[in-house]
Amino acid sequence: MWKQLTDEQLVKAALGEDPDAFGEIVKRWERKIFALCFGMLGREDDARDAAQEAFIAAYRNLSNFRGDAKVSSWLHRIAVNQCLTIKRRAKTRSEDFLDDETDEASRVFVAPLHQSPLKLAEQGERLIIIRQAVQSLPADLREVIAMKEFEEMTFQEISEVLELPLSTVKSRLYTALNQLRRKLERSPVEII
């Protein structure tokens, strides 16, 4: 029933007190929003929490949704704000964050069985460095990297969601990659 409707039509239906319509929006966007949150936060648990909170916040503020913006833009903005909030919270417990770095690496990295322990350790360490390098980017650059690499959006889609000119999106991606490259070049572990 809902599959043929656009996001905007679904929002209208949800505003007519039909929560199932919002459920369809969640189905359509949960993977992408989760990907965005993971790219922004770099930790699975935080990304899950951020995605969950983002959808709850979206539902709570459904009546404030302006029809002049796309639902995708609106959802992404909410999710990015949620990620920034969680990131700020994480800063306050930064000591704990550093303590569980090793656990984090071993948990998220699913290594092939045929590789040697040394190789596995190197790969795990490399992933941590990449993640830390991405996480150290400014929020606006991290945002476009997450959308491009994790959501696999095109430049045009990113431009529409962020309501930015296409040239700005390209410029931000170039800057993000350039900063990332410098951070990775400084790391002691060979990246590629």
């Binding site: 709850i56 009546s63 990297i145 040239s167 991606l173 990246i191 590629i192």
Partner: protein, 241 residues
């Protein structure tokens, strides 16, 4: 687009991001490729940027790609609070035609009630105001009368004036009755009170004394001991209520 000119002064950066992500027009792509073939510095730079991009891609493939999509659950309390407590929904409910019609009808009824009962209410308010003014005048008079001065001790004898008495019993018969004399005395007393500072103000002893001088004197009346009354007794008789 903002130009990213590299160390060699080459300005091809406007197409670099598109080239790395392969989102570039064929014409621009061939232009970049042509430049990279001739410029080692730019070639190295593009290689480094591509390596950085590949790192992120690998991170994604080895972490995120393995993760399940989280099951998003909207708590029941959120659904309930949103369905019933949203301010926007209250507003939309208020703007529904039946609610608007009922509200308009209530306003009209309220206006009709106000128009109907307002004259009576104004009348009552005016009466109350008059009562208050009267009460204040009487209070002022009482104040004047109860002042401990010489006028308090005067024995008022509402009797026939001397001139009338001199004319004999016939004139005496036509002289003012005790009741009429009381009225005369009270009228003069009220005028004296009005002539003082104000209706609501309490006159000083001196002004009371001056006012008392203006009053009819005892010598203007013929004594009639049977009708002798205290001034306070007279006032208590004529005071309303």
């Amino acid at each position: 687009m903002r130009a990213h000119i590299n160390k060699t002064g080459c300005d091809f950066s406007s197409d670099v991001a598109g080239f790395i992500y392969d989102e570039i027009s064929p014409v621009a792509k061939s232009r970049v490729q042509e430049h990279l073939r001739s410029c080692d510095h730019c070639s190295q730079e593009v290689t480094a940027l591509s390596a950085a991009r590949l790192s992120i891609h690998q991170w994604r493939q080895q972490t995120f790609a393995e993760m399940d999509t989280p099951v998003i659950v909207l708590p029941r309390r959120v659904l309930q609070s949103t369905n019933t407590g949203s301010f926007g929904q209250w507003i939309s409910w208020l703007l529904r035609p039946p609610v608007l019609a009922a509200f308009t009808a209530l306003v009209v009824i309220a206006l009709a009630v106000i128009v109907q009962f307002r004259p009576a209410a104004v009348e009552i308010a005016q009466d109350l105001e008059v009562d208050r003014t009267t009460q204040s005048i009487i209070t002022a008079q009482d104040k004047v009368i109860n002042e401990p001065d010489t006028t308090r001790e005067i024995l008022v004898t509402p009797v026939v004036p001397k001139a009338a008495a001199a004319d004999g019993p016939a004139r005496a018969a036509s002289a003012p009755t005790p009741k009429a004399s009381r009225k005369t005395l009270l009228g003069a007393r009220a005028e004296a009170a009005k002539a003082s500072k104000g209706v609501n103000s309490i006159p000083s002893d001196r002004s009371v004394a001056t006012d008392a001088a203006k009053l009819p004197q005892l010598s203007d009346f013929v004594e009639n001991e049977d009708q002798t009354l205290l001034l306070s007794d007279l006032l208590s008789e004529v005071e309303p209520g």
